[in-house]
Assembly symmetry: D2
Homo-oligomer: 328 residues x 4
């Protein structure tokens, strides 16, 4: 069994099924549904075996496949945002998060790199109410839940592990739920900007240095953590690798099994592939990303969809119209 590395549980199941040539995975339940033009997939990793198979912690991962994000009008944003909100609520329901409890929304990522700026942009559209509830409660409706939010930046910007910053704030502010938003990397261009994953197993921000990353999860924070992620880039090295694999696969298909050619194709090893990737990507290896040209606009629309989903889920007493009055 090879090790599966992808941020998306749904990709992990696909890769597993392909590698192992079977549909069902022991310890993993997959469930499909749809609403309007949004496809919803629920992956439950139920035990250690499922955890090992997919290389992801036990828990629930809900994936929304949303329509292509060009030419979204306000109506589409509202519609898809509400579907997302319903799924977020679904996951929250399984925690002890009562209506008067406080949520802290955390926008992970680097605002200077557009495809990584999703989290910070979402934060700027969250309905922030905690300070009003605390200091001038009469100014807002009783049914409004206290919400606070922050986009702390990344390790290279702050010099501090994002997990440490969040833990410090949580210790002091004592919220009852954390919702994290992050940009992910996908293996496939078709997922980029069109897949939203919600999970209840936390998140490990950034790629970290020396693997000392501190995860943001119920284990480290002591309160439930919901993670919302969207793939906004494909790593260029991944794309090059997949291209090479594809070429080899096509040729293998054409070659006579057992022939010298066929055997040679089977023998192309990792180091040869890596040499080729280096030849293509140098001097930028490890530091290149593949993005659609209109990435700035797409991340903007995505941030509106996700903030709508979070706002709707956190403020069930309000209509979307009322919420949008509060947002700058």
């Amino acid at each position: 069994m090879i090790s599966i590395r992808t941020d998306l549980a749904i990709e992990a199941t696909e890769i597993y099924s392909k590698e192992n040539k079977k549909g069902a995975i022991d310890g993993v339940a997959v469930e499909n549904s749809s609403e309007d033009d949004v496809k919803i997939t629920r992956v439950d990793i139920k035990n250690d075996e499922g955890e090992r198979s997919l290389n992801k912690p036990k828990g629930t991962y809900i994936t929304l496949d949303i329509p292509k994000l060009t030419n979204y009008e306000q109506e589409d944003i509202d519609r898809v945002g509400k579907i997302l909100g319903k799924e977020i609520l679904e996951i929250i329901k399984n925690t002890n998060f009562r209506e008067d409890m406080t949520a802290l929304v955390v926008g992970l990522g680097n605002w200077n790199i557009t495809p990584d700026a999703l989290g910070p942009r979402v934060i700027s559209k969250i309905m922030i109410t905690r300070h009003l509830k605390e200091y001038i409660p009469d100014s807002i409706d009783e049914g409004i839940r206290p919400v606070c939010g922050i986009a702390p930046g990344v390790l290279g910007i702050t010099g501090m592990e994002t997990g440490e910053i969040i833990r410090g704030i949580v210790d002091r502010i004592k919220p009852n739920l954390v919702i994290c938003i992050d940009s992910l990397a996908s293996r496939k261009m078709e997922r980029v900007n069109s897949t939203i994953q919600i999970g209840n197993t936390g998140i490990s921000p950034g790629s970290g240095i020396g693997n000392k990353r501190m995860e943001i999860s119920e284990k480290t924070l002591g309160i439930p953590v919901l993670a919302i992620g969207v793939p906004t880039v494909v790593d260029a090295a991944t794309m090059a690798n997949d291209t090479i694999d594809l070429v080899i696969e096509e040729m293998t298909g054409a070659a006579t099994k057992g022939s010298g050619f066929y055997n040679m194709l089977k023998e192309i090893d990792k180091s040869e592939k890596e040499k080729m990737i280096h030849e293509i990507l140098d001097p930028y290896i490890g530091n290149l990303m593949v993005t659609p040209k209109e990435v700035d606009m797409v991340v903007d629309v995505l941030s509106k969809v996700i903030s709508t989903g979070i706002n709707v889920a956190l403020q069930p007493a309000l209509e979307l119209k009322e919420i949008s009055k509060y947002i700058g």
Copy 2:
């Protein structure tokens, strides 16, 4: 004695001296010097009496009057930045902040309002090293001090007191010194963007709601706090008030003492003035600011001067040239 309200200790001394018609203030020592075209004023508030007179906590306040910030070239930024750095070092020297200790630099203010964005813009130019020292110490010079930084946003953006956020982070990261940068309001246009105040008594971020602001100071954080502030706006209501005072003053000077006119001028009271200010500023009262048109450029230059000062002060082992290689 009237209550003096200004963010600048130097303005407080001026107002006090004018109100009380005397130069020296009991419990306050004022010392002037200059370097190149920068005028340096050191105000030491030594005891409770000085504290009461100036309505500012005991401590040291160093003010730099710097040349007008248009047409600054790199050389000017470096020169003024180094002078600032020397004064920062002067204040740090009186703390137990050893060369291998960690500094946390905090950029206060709202990045969406240009004149309030000084703090966040400084942070983006600070030489951040703590993560390198921690995870890949071999990658940087031994003499380099660990520095981390954050621009947390303001209460209206996060829903959390900035003081609480910083306290949470300090408890977790355990730095040995905090340096805060903030935009201030001045009473006088001539100070705007040309005065830098360094103080060792901490800072109370934002105007707060319900006066529940939590100050950022040695008292609340348990470690020394250095505050760097620059007035970048004049509040429009203050300007209107000062204009009215000036008109009245001019007329009083022209009127015969004891005449009905003279007495009338003396009797114009606060409520009448406020009525006039409202007439001028409605419907925006309390929410208007007076800024130079080129405020964006000026705040940019200021942020370079201040980050240079901080970088030079925190990394005495490096040349400015070496520092600038690290900054994005």
Copy 3:
């Protein structure tokens, strides 16, 4: 008769009426109406006498007083935008601008100075179609009108008169109508960001140097020019001047007519006032503006309202919903 200097025709009529203590102005027709919460005032300057009285060229000036621009939701933007669109259409109707003709939309102003960035921000939301009509006509609906747009920058940025740039482009592209959008200065805070003026007499961009400004009008371009302007700032010197006037006025009201005090107030002359203004504003005199703190958000909402109005007026064959699909 004193010379009236304001960018707004409606302010000019008010000042004239106040100065001359009469309601009606010879050669000027004023007409009021309203739609929803928007007050509409139409000022027609009909002849030379009206032109002299108001210090504005003959023509039609429609003013919309719109509700305060905080907490606008999409619905409000659409509603006010459509009312604006109707008034723009009203003025266009009097030109020979047929449905298949080309419009050039010009966003005047400096994108680096937030309150002056209204024009450029509107351009980024205009439905641009001319290139599609020209090169891939099958890609869009037949009823769609060719529209092009540009934000050329200001004299200090380009080194060229904006009027010259526009004239060069008009000569080459040959549109049939020009619509200009510009930020204006108002004398009154209450008009700031809540008054939209539409006029058919063209515009003189910026304050120019040496008064060599070339106006953008039917006279210089040979095609009809529609100008849309919104006051986004009050000049600080104007505010100081008005404050001084107000103080003097209040005192004059209180003083006995004929008394020495009364006479002195009447005698305060321009040079004395200017001296006071200098004392207040130095060293920034002539270069200060008064703006609401949330100016960035307000200019953003304004740009959406105005672009909606223009899009609706230029594309009568489309629903607003269809238009918004085209906008980035």
Copy 4:
């Protein structure tokens, strides 16, 4: 002979030499030199044969290979900028551009797409003087040349061919030289952000629709046109194609000449490759770019180097220090 498609003359010579297995190209002179760590290559396409071979118009193309653009400090920017300035001057020398004549600098590209924003960012750092020379000549030094500049946007933003806009402005303003700056696409990652090409044959902005693009050149404008281009992206389809080629090439090398395998490799045709590229890049085919993650910072540094080069070349009477005082 296959058709060579690349924006860079130096790449065209390399591809030609590789395809044709010979170093020298008839009708083309290549000359190498270096200054400090900058490698300078001069390609002169001298006649129709050279033009046909390289698929580029006759003229001079100077390429600077500059050191990697991370960790540039001000000194490096100045140093490389000056070398660039010298080469620009070298090309200008061959025109009749006298010292008192006017230059128009044009920043091509889309400011909303970071790697395409190079041109607009350069414009914001050009020393603009034409309006001063024209209206207040006493305000600046006599030796200063009149320079104006504009970043007109791209076809999709304006609805007008950029070539038409520039032609309209040139007809009206009558400059004596045009300098265009544009982002290019490269075939090789190693050229990205490290190659600057200066040419005297003009430029065809954007990819155009229906090939109706109007070039910006001496032929269309009637005055000399200098084009400065830097590759800032690799098209993702190009990268995928090159990856596939590389894999095939590697295998071909390993296979026995004449074997079935060898022949099959030779026979993989364009349509098969395109099918594979589609499989990799869908649904974004034709709309994906590969960029380094720190693209924003790199484009910023590049814009400083290029504006320095242009400013130094256009203002030979000034020291670089004096120039930087004029830049915002």
